[in-house]
Amino acid sequence: MREGASLVVVGASAGGVLALRSLLSGLRADLAASLVIVLHIRESGVDSLIGLLNQSSRIPVREALHGAPIETGVAYVAPGNYHLLIEREGCFALSVDDKVCHARPSIDVLFASAADAWRGPLVGVVLTGSNEDGARGLAEIRARGGRAWVQSPAEAEAPQMPEAAVRVAGADAVLPLADIARNINQAFPP
């Protein structure tokens, strides 16, 4: 991992497929950050999600593999029925520990792991969803000095997750998806 490399961790649940497609299609092709995504989705849906996202994303979208290095300018999706964690060395780790907020992968687990392990600039993004996964994780990201951008509940298909995130963690900005994408582009130019 390059010293000071940047990481954006994203969590979504109900309504997340379309929200992610929209978010990724707004990102610049030469983004100087890695994007790591946890979506609450059936295990069998991960492959087709990656295919769908790759159709409109200008950065490549791949499955996060255990032990694989986290590359800049790539978006990764957590595999189904595993928690996704980040190692200090800048690679992925999987776990089958208990579900968190009834979810595995859990957004809280990814966010907390990123807050623990990542040394460079870190941003947590919470999108649409109808549970509260990600709220506590976002708080840990903020506590460690990272930024928090939350999808506007008014725009979200399911507002509970963004609302919980703001309530528990607060946010540096509550924005529609297009503006979150713009923020990411401006924060991590080549």
Binding site: A93, L94, V96, D98, A112, D116, A117
Partner: protein, 277 residues
């Protein structure tokens, strides 16, 4: 700075576990291990890892409880059904050619996978010839596995997974339901030996046609993974099978002399070569 104090505390905790109780967790992958230790702090209501270490050293918390929380806690019946289907299709016919079959399940946790395997072996007419060694680092997990009692909340998922794995009967034929729990038939464990075994410290104890170690290696750093793989290689008969967790792979290891990939669905490997290269 708080972050690096926790690093020091984690190292001291690992040292305390090793020196006081002989458990060596130094080879465990850091992110997941750190998370579990943080979970231990919550479970034992300590403010930090140093307090956890103090309680451990002065016997105010039981080592059995600590080990059970630091090892694989979760499993499901027929987890990842396509993998079981691969076992039935690619491995069972080969097992059938042996008069006696030894199977080692390393990291059996609370036993859901052992019973899943026992059910499929029974339906394939192979169970009577089998001796299954179900091992785990955690005595608590083994006790639960021996008992074979599970909450019934995941029953629908289990039944559906059983069917998807190629189960030919009805899952309810294999258990009794009572008071929110299911108890697996004692018959299913008549050929199962549950025993403690620590992949970081212990050695070979049987010669097996099939070794299953699913979602255990992800908790190890590469050197400890290597140790476990060497152990599996030494435990397998020529042409014996190794099955890992569905998102695990041997591709990061130099295993060309030891294992050949049979099926990415599993994933399933086969032991090659008579002698260590």
């Amino acid at each position: 700075m708080k972050r690096s104090v926790e690093d020091i505390e984690l190292g001291l905790f690992v040292e305390a576990l090793k020196q006081r109780h002989g458990y060596d967790f130094s080879g465990y992958a850091e992110a997941s291990f750190r998370r579990r230790v943080q979970g231990l702090c919550i479970h034992f209501r300590t403010d930090n890892i140093s307090q956890l270490t103090e309680q451990l050293l002065h016997d105010r918390i039981a080592i059995g409880d600590v080990v059970s929380q630091l090892s694989v806690p979760v499993s499901e019946f027929f987890r990842d059904p396509p993998s079981f289907a691969t076992l039935r299709r690619a491995v069972f016919p080969v097992l059938a050619s042996y008069p006696h079959i030894n199977i080692w399940q390393a990291g059996c946790a609370r036993g859901e996978e052992v019973y899943s395997l026992a059910i499929l072996l029974t339906e394939a007419g192979l169970y009577d010839r089998c001796r299954i060694y179900a091992t785990d680092i955690s005595g608590h997990a083994l006790a639960a596995a021996r008992e074979g009692v599970y909450p019934d909340r995941e029953l629908r998922q289990s039944a559906s997974s059983y069917f998807e794995a190629g189960g030919s009967g009805t899952l309810s034929d294999y258990f009794h339901a009572r008071y929110g729990h299911i108890k697996l038939d004692d018959d299913l464990k008549r050929n199962v030996t549950f025993a403690e075994h620590n992949l970081a410290l212990d050695g070979v104890f049987c010669e097996a046609q099939l070794v299953l170690c699913r979602n255990v290696l992800i908790y190890f750093k590469p050197p400890l993974q290597r140790r476990a793989l060497d152990l599996f290689h030494a435990s397998l008969v020529r042409g014996g099978f190794l099955c890992l967790g569905n998102k695990e792979s041997l591709s990061r290891h130099d295993i060309g002399d030891h294992f050949a990939l049979v099926d990415r669905q599993g994933p399933l490997y086969r032991r090659v070569l008579d002698t260590d290269a």
